[in-house]
């Protein structure tokens, strides 16, 4: 029985020249977990908001949406869903955990929706108690909402939607702003909601690797249309025949499977050596695993083991040859990087003084509080991209603030090209030397349009207005944001805003660029674009320090990685050594190939290694 059906919905925002949604039809059955996937701006959020009438965007809409037999939108001959039913039966959780919380205490937040429905106090008490028990919130039930962590806030939003007892739960990229641990907790709760309560879920998400194993149905959206719909296997088959950037957002195991079964995958960005490598190895690969598409790391390991035994003439020879090629490749890449840009080691030799040197910094937020950083050190050379990883609350952002001179350490020092930050004259440190891109890119904008903001930033370093504008336009062309210059910073997508913020930060031509979680909330295409931009800056001799949770991104794009733990930077190494040495804190491809194929960091590595092994 279908719970939600969307029939031929077309929607256009006011003053827009194209449809945000074009003739979209889909249906979700009772108890299913459906996922709407697609790059940002593909229309998935718009569709969710149209289903939740109270927050529907303004614009021209046509088509019909039904929840069971009641019409969500008017003009149908069916009975209308009443306002009360809409509030009660359809729950929604949006991306930003912060802006959905209404009241100051957790218990009041849980009760808020039920108060609106007009339930008597004792019924509210019962429902609130039930939901708090289901979520295990007893410990923070009495807390103030501002004291909660980001993950707790989003769980609270989910609980407050669920306490209304909805039949359909709409989720708009609910884990985009959370760190990986909190995101995994959130998905675990969703699994319980689906299996124990049978609530139907429709979720918009661009990170398929996390949701594909759970989804019953996936709809791929592009440019306001639905390109494909079906289960994980059907989607993978679709990608086999139709190359699409979203294929890169698939789980690592699925991407390997896709590459092996003759599909085209964009490997590691568009200009990778393999370029949409089509590897028609071992005619029997698909046959070997039948029709089951591997979705998880353990599925992937199974597949690689089968391949190692089945596909090659001798598995052991294959493995050794793979090892040989891996080492060969590493030395080759080391040579290559030494030739066209300073690698980690050669940089130390060539450059006299490191671009940024953090040595033994200690910091605490209050005399009575424990140290956040207790003697953290790292050095960053010109032309190097250093990725600092670490768990939640390990002090990554604090370290960046120290490196940027926003906070000062109580012991230790931060030096820029050998000069202490404190000895820079006023007005010189943030011009041509150092810049920080904060976690929330909107924080750098203060004007009414992006153009005004950027012009003001460029004016600070340029001799006159004309050259400032010329410089600004040139940079914006390079970042491909020239089209959004006249928009308000709040009106553009997350990826666009981040690029605009990067443009503002780059206006001062910094030698050292500090990035705080640059890939947070950005889709696969945005990540590749960002990597391209950063590569360009590195080639120009900039040094980049990024703080990130994104192991896959760090493995693919960093020159060196470090782990911040217990207030210190430990296990510093090139990505190869860093991730191969870690057992848990590593990429999915590495976990998949551990003990089967050596020296693997990314999906490309697996595909290449298998291509070598294959006869």
């Amino acid at each position: 029985m279908e719970l939600l059906s969307v029939e031929n919905v077309t929607f256009r925002y006011p003053k827009a020249s194209t449809d945000a949604l074009h003739d979209v039809s889909l249906s979700v059955s009772e108890g299913q977990w459906a996922v709407l996937c697609g790059l940002s701006g593909c229309g998935k959020s718009t569709l969710l908001r149209l289903i939740k009438r109270e927050i529907a965007p303004y614009g021209e809409a046509s088509g019909r949406i039904f929840l069971r037999d009641s019409a969500v939108r008017g003009e149908a001959d069916a009975p209308m869903l009443s306002d009360r039913e809409s509030a009660e039966c359809i729950g929604i959780v949006l991306q930003d955990p912060e802006s959905q919380i209404v009241t100051d205490t957790v218990w009041h937040e849980l009760a808020f929706g039920l108060e609106n429905l007009g339930l008597p106090s004792d019924r509210i008490r019962r429902r609130v108690a039930e939901i708090a028990a289901f979520f295990g919130m007893e410990e923070w039930y009495r807390k103030k909402t501002y004291e909660l962590s980001g993950g707790q806030k989003q769980l609270l939003n989910l609980a407050s939607a669920l306490v209304m007892n909805p039949r359909l739960l709409l989720l708009d990229e609910p884990t985009a702003q959370l760190d990986p641990i909190a995101a995994a907790d959130f998905r675990n709760v969703l699994r319980r909601i689906r299996s124990e309560l049978g609530v139907t879920i429709l979720m918009a998400e661009h990170r398929l690797e996390d949701v594909l194993p759970d989804a019953d149905r996936i709809f791929l959206m592009d440019g306001g249309r639905i390109l494909a719909g079906g289960d994980a296997a059907a989607l993978t088959t679709f990608f086999t025949n139709n190359p699409h950037p979203m294929a890169q957002a698939l789980p690592a195991a699925t991407r390997v499977f896709l590459a092996l079964s003759g599909g085209s995958v964009f490997i590691g960005g568009t200009d990778s050596a393999g370029d949409t490598a089509r590897i028609n190895t071992a005619a029997g690969t698909s046959a070997a695993f039948g029709s089951t598409v591997p979705l998880t790391v353990s599925d992937g390991r199974q597949m690689l083991r089968t391949l190692a035994e089945h596909g090659t003439a001798s598995a052991s020879a294959g493995a050794t040859s793979a090892e040989a090629t891996a080492t060969e490749k590493e030395s080759a890449s080391a040579e290559g990087s030494a030739a066209d840009g300073p690698g980690p080691k050669s940089a130390a030799e060539t450059a006299g003084k490191p671009a940024l040197e953090v040595s033994g910094v200690r910091f605490r937020y209050d005399r009575l509080l424990p140290d956040v950083l207790s003697g953290a050190s790292l050095t960053l050379h010109a032309g190097e991209h250093y990725c600092l990883l670490g768990g939640n609350g390990s002090g990554k952002t604090t370290l960046l603030a120290l490196a940027a001179g926003i906070l000062s350490p109580y012991a230790g020092s931060v030096r820029l090209s050998g000069k202490k930050l404190s000895s820079f004259a006023p007005g010189t440190l943030y011009r041509g030397n150092l810049a920080l891109l904060p976690q929330q890119p909107r924080d750098v904008f203060t004007e009414k349009s992006i153009r005004e903001d950027l012009t003001a930033a460029f004016l600070r370093t340029a001799p006159d207005k004309a050259s400032a504008e010329a410089d600004m336009l040139a940079l914006c062309e390079r970042l491909r944001i020239a089209g959004i210059l006249d928009s308000h910073p709040y009106d553009v997508s997350g990826g666009e805003l981040q690029k605009a913020a990067l443009a503002k930060v780059l206006a001062s031509r910094p030698k050292v660029l500090l990035l705080d979680e640059p890939t947070k909330g950005i889709d696969v295409r945005g990540k590749d674009e960002l990597a391209d931009i950063l590569d360009g800056l590195l080639a120009d001799g900039a040094a980049i320090l990024s703080v990130t949770h994104d192991a896959e991104w760090a493995a693919a794009h960093a020159d060196r990685c470090g782990l911040l733990f217990d207030g210190e930077v430990i296990s510093e190494d090139a990505p190869g050594g860093f991730f191969d040495g870690n057992a848990f804190y590593t990429t999915a491809a590495n976990r998949m190939a551990r003990g089967i194929l050596p020296g693997i960091l990314t999906v490309d590595d697996i595909v290449r290694a298998l291509a070598e092994v294959a006869p």
Binding site: E54, I55, D83, A87, G91, I92, L94, D96, E98, S99, Q100, I101, V102, T103, D104, T105, W107, H108, F112, G113, L114, E115, N116, L117, G118, L119, P120, S121, R125, V128, T145, Y146, A161, M164, A401, A404, G405, I406, P426, G427, L429, Y430, L434, A435, L436, P438, Q440, R442, D443, V444, F445, T446, E447, A456, R460, Y490, K504, V505, S508, L514
Partner: protein
């Protein structure tokens, strides 16, 4: 924790009003003394129990009392017994004693408010208010949610602006202008946040007819019992005051009516009322020590 914690806020409000109104109206040491004693005993007991007696605040109250006592005769020359003359104005014994009483009364009122603060959990403070004006209570709740959020945002925006060089611009005019726009950025964010929160409220049915208010506090039989004790004791005190039983004159001579039987009853009733928090504390202590010995 005493039995008074987690009582219905109405009971606690009634206690506060029944203690403070008579003592402030009567201006009589017969009531001021028990009011002060009750508050001091309770707070001291709590402080000793939690090992957090603040010497600084004791010193502060002593200083306040001393100042009020010493300064009152400078302003009021009403008394008949001059102790000394300051630039021709009499500094009288009566005014000095009245000052001492006034200081004690002031401290008693402050301490009772402090008792109320320890007795009523923060989330219950607006509770009674919520019953009278639910919309206003919701508004206060959203404001209390928003203020810490705005403060955090201000810190973040300031940090981000520092790192793009706004705060160390050598040109002060330019710098001031940029700092002003930082403020306007915060305003824009606030409005944007308000729109998002508004959408979240609507999504959860805000604006439907027949909204109710969830009450976390229930008025139980224990509440009713304590409230009736409070009201009964207060009735005795009020009756005494109405009959003029506790009349006390400070000027020109200190004169008090000889207490009759009613006045004695009134004073005792008021003293019992003031001791309720302390007595309930003692009762809990004794009960728990017995309870523990049985474990």
């Amino acid at each position: 924790m005493t039995i008074f914690h987690n009582r219905h806020p109405l009971v606690l409000l009634a206690l506060l009003l029944c203690v403070l109104l008579p003592v402030m109206f009567a201006q009589s040491p017969m009531l001021t003394a028990p009011a002060l004693l009750g508050a001091v005993l309770f707070l001291a007991a709590l402080g000793i129990r939690s090992r957090s007696v603040s010497l600084r605040s004791i010193f502060g109250y002593a200083l306040l009392w001393f100042l009020v006592t010493a300064i009152n005769p400078l302003f009021s020359t009403g008394g008949a017994t001059p102790l000394l003359f300051i630039s021709g104005r009499p500094y009288t014994k009566e005014a000095l004693l009245y000052g001492a009483h006034l200081g004690a009364l002031l401290i008693a009122v402050l301490l009772w408010f402090r008792c109320e603060r320890t007795l009523v959990p923060e989330e219950n403070r607006f509770f009674l208010f919520g019953r009278l004006a639910p919309k206003l209570a919701l508004l206060i709740s959203t404001v209390l949610r928003f203020v810490p959020l705005l403060r955090r945002r201000a810190v973040q925006v300031r940090a981000a602006q520092t790192a793009v060089g706004v705060y160390d611009d050598p040109d002060w005019l330019h710098r001031t202008k940029s700092q002003m726009t930082t403020m306007s950025a915060l305003t824009t964010w606030s409005l944007e946040h308000a729109i998002d929160t508004g959408a979240a409220m609507k999504a959860r049915g805000y604006g439907l007819s027949g909204r109710t208010t969830y009450r976390t506090c229930r008025f139980g039989t224990a509440d009713a019992a304590i409230l009736s004790i409070i009201l009964a004791l207060t009735a005795v005190t009020v009756l005494t005051l109405a009959r003029g039983g506790l009349h006390f004159d400070w000027y020109p001579y200190i004169t008090a009516t000889t207490p009759d039987r009613l006045a004695v009853c009134g004073t005792i009733a008021y003293a019992v009322l003031c001791l309720i928090p302390f007595l309930s504390f003692l009762k809990e202590e004794i009960r728990w020590s017995f309870y523990r010995s049985k474990m």
